[in-house]
């Protein structure tokens, strides 16, 4: 395995950045505005018997490195059109437009957006690709590994208001998702009928908080599973057949809070994902980050945790009646046992150096402790030799232009 890997596509992306930035760091006119972001992220996992989010024990650049471009045309003060996309060679995300919408702002306190936008599940979901926007090299994976739906097509409305010293932003959205979920092993087609949500942000002095609720129906197409359901139904094991369906409602709850001063900050976020499907676990995540600012440097440490609980599924298929039914019982048992078990604890220490107002260097160490017998958000593990503990070394250069 090579100790250093950077793909030709990434080299090409960085060549474009280098060519663009000497001319202008920011192109704008009254009507048209072009800006962008880029990040080069390198990572090394000190473990040969596992992979974490596409990082392995060679220096790898492709999983989180990307180039993003935003173009905005302002027809007038109220109406604008926005296109924003990323170019990447990552196996974790797809190149293309993740924002493509018309924005209508009839007053200073109302804004309506129609089109494609990133689903605002969590505090940093909308800007997960913009490394400059957050302190870490990658946001806590205990929370952000769960952000399944990248963008949805629909509408959102945002209302800004003040009560005394408190500033609020209330946002409601609805839309449809029909695309592929990407992970390092494969991609899976997910259909969502309608995803709706509401979130409220509050700011006062140095304190801010966000609370969010998202709900929707979804269906994941897995051919082998449909065939198994049909076989179970043909034997009249309808309860088991229904319980192994990956479709139904999903509810996502989120709370985050932050306190920031000129010298230090604290950020915390808690999330809960609950689905109707018994094949999909309920997922809870928590993270807390504390940091210090000193001149152009930010020093931070995080503790984060992910817990999954799988609902009980009844295997109605008897064993010992016929060889076929015994085999079917084993297959259902394997499916039940094979559900996601992702419990993991991560401790992080890191540093961010703001070299310029649009350029930052970050480095961090993630100490990842999984649970025996679980995958624990690792994308690959060799169960015979992995001791459920590894350290991920990451660094990044984040650029705005």
């Amino acid at each position: 395995m090579p100790l250093f890997s950077i793909t030709p596509q990434l080299k090409y992306i960085w060549l474009i950045i280098v060519l663009i930035t000497p001319y202008k760091t920011y192109a704008t006119t009254d009507k048209f505005d072009v800006s962008g972001f880029a990040r080069l992220v390198g990572g090394y996992l000190d473990e040969s018997s596992a992979e974490y989010q596409a990082y392995d024990n060679s220096l790898t650049f492709s999983p989180d490195s990307l180039l993003g471009i935003k173009g905005e045309y302002r027809h007038n003060e109220q109406l604008s059109f926005v296109a924003q996309g990323i170019f990447t060679n990552s196996s974790l995300r797809k190149s293309g437009f993740d924002w493509l919408y018309m924005s209508y702002k009839p007053s200073t306190d109302w804004q309506f957006d129609f089109g494609r936008y990133r689903t605002p599940f969590f505090e940093y979901s909308e800007v997960i690709n913009v490394g400059f926007a957050y302190p870490w090299v990658i946001p806590p994976q205990t929370t952000y590994v769960n952000a399944l739906f990248a963008s949805i097509d629909g509408a959102r409305a945002t209302y800004l208001f003040n009560i005394d010293k408190f500033n609020f932003s209330l946002s409601a959205f609805g839309g449809q998702f029909n695309s592929n979920i990407f992970n390092v092993e494969n991609s899976t087609t997910v259909e969502s009928d309608l995803l709706t949500g509401i979130n409220l942000r509050m700011n006062t002095d140095n304190f801010r908080a966000r609370i969010s609720y998202v709900t929707g129906d979804f269906e994941i197409e897995i051919n082998d599973l449909s065939e198994l359901q049909n076989i179970l139904k043909s034997y009249n094991f309808n309860n088991t057949a229904n319980e192994i369906e990956i479709k139904g409602g999903i509810d996502i709850y989120q709370f985050s809070a932050a306190y920031e001063t000129l010298d230090y900050f604290a950020l915390t976020e808690a999330t809960l994902i609950k689905g109707d499907s018994k094949l999909v676990p309920n997922i809870e995540s928590y993270n807390l980050t504390l940091g210090l600012f000193h001149n152009d440097f930010t020093y931070y440490t995080s503790a984060s945790k992910l817990r999954t609980t799988n609902p009980e599924i009844t295997n109605e298929v008897p064993i010992g009646v016929t060889p076929e039914l015994t085999l079917l019982n084993n297959i259902v048992d394997k499916l039940i046992e094979g559900r996601l078990h992702e419990d993991v604890d991560i401790a992080t220490v890191g540093i961010r150096w703001d070299i310029k107002s649009n350029l930052a260097f970050k480095a961090e160490v993630d100490m990842i402790k999984g649970k025996s017998g679980q995958r624990s958000t690792f994308s690959r593990i060799d169960e015979t030799s992995f001791n459920n503990y590894s350290t991920l070394y990451l660094f990044s250069i984040d650029w705005l232009f």
Binding site: N167, S169, E260, L262, F293, D354, N358
Partner: protein, 143 residues
């Protein structure tokens, strides 16, 4: 008899203290707006919201370049965050479509020209700056 090196050091320190004093006097900051804007008073909290894109008042903020002394004072005294955190915040606003960062203009003259020609604009400049006739002070930052 005073030796030359001692004299030079003393003289330099004297010059530096005078410069620092002069600099201190010239770094007090006033927030200014166009006289046509009907809003005639603003609180520190409202100013913070205006310049962080959480604006429910009829104001369009414009700002001087990074590392301008007035910008450092404004960030410290009003926003309460350092420049890198504000830039991170602006990146979050810009690339999530929630708000636009304030327009940046290169000089005090350019800022004042913009304010005098844009009824909704608001900015900050050093105290003592000669203001155009249709530009008025709405807030004074006391250091």
């Amino acid at each position: 008899m005073i030796k030359w090196p001692v004299f030079l050091i003393s003289f330099s320190l004297l010059l530096f203290s005078q410069f620092a004093l002069a600099n201190k006097n010239s770094t007090e900051v006033i927030v200014v707006k166009n006289i046509e804007n009907p809003i005639n008073s603003i609180t520190k909290n409202q100013l913070r919201n205006v310049f962080l894109g959480r604006n429910t008042l009829m104001f369009e903020p414009v700002i001087p370049p990074v590392e301008t002394i007035t910008r450092i004072i404004f960030n410290t005294k009003i926003i309460g965050l350092n420049e890198s955190r504000i830039q991170s915040f602006y990146a979050q606003m810009r690339f999530s479509g929630r708000a636009r960062p304030p327009k940046e203009l290169p000089t005090t003259d350019a800022l004042l020209h913009y304010i005098s020609t844009t009824p909704t604009a608001i900015t900050y400049v050093p105290q003592g700056t000669k203001l155009p006739k249709n530009v008025v002070v709405i807030y004074t930052i006391v250091i």
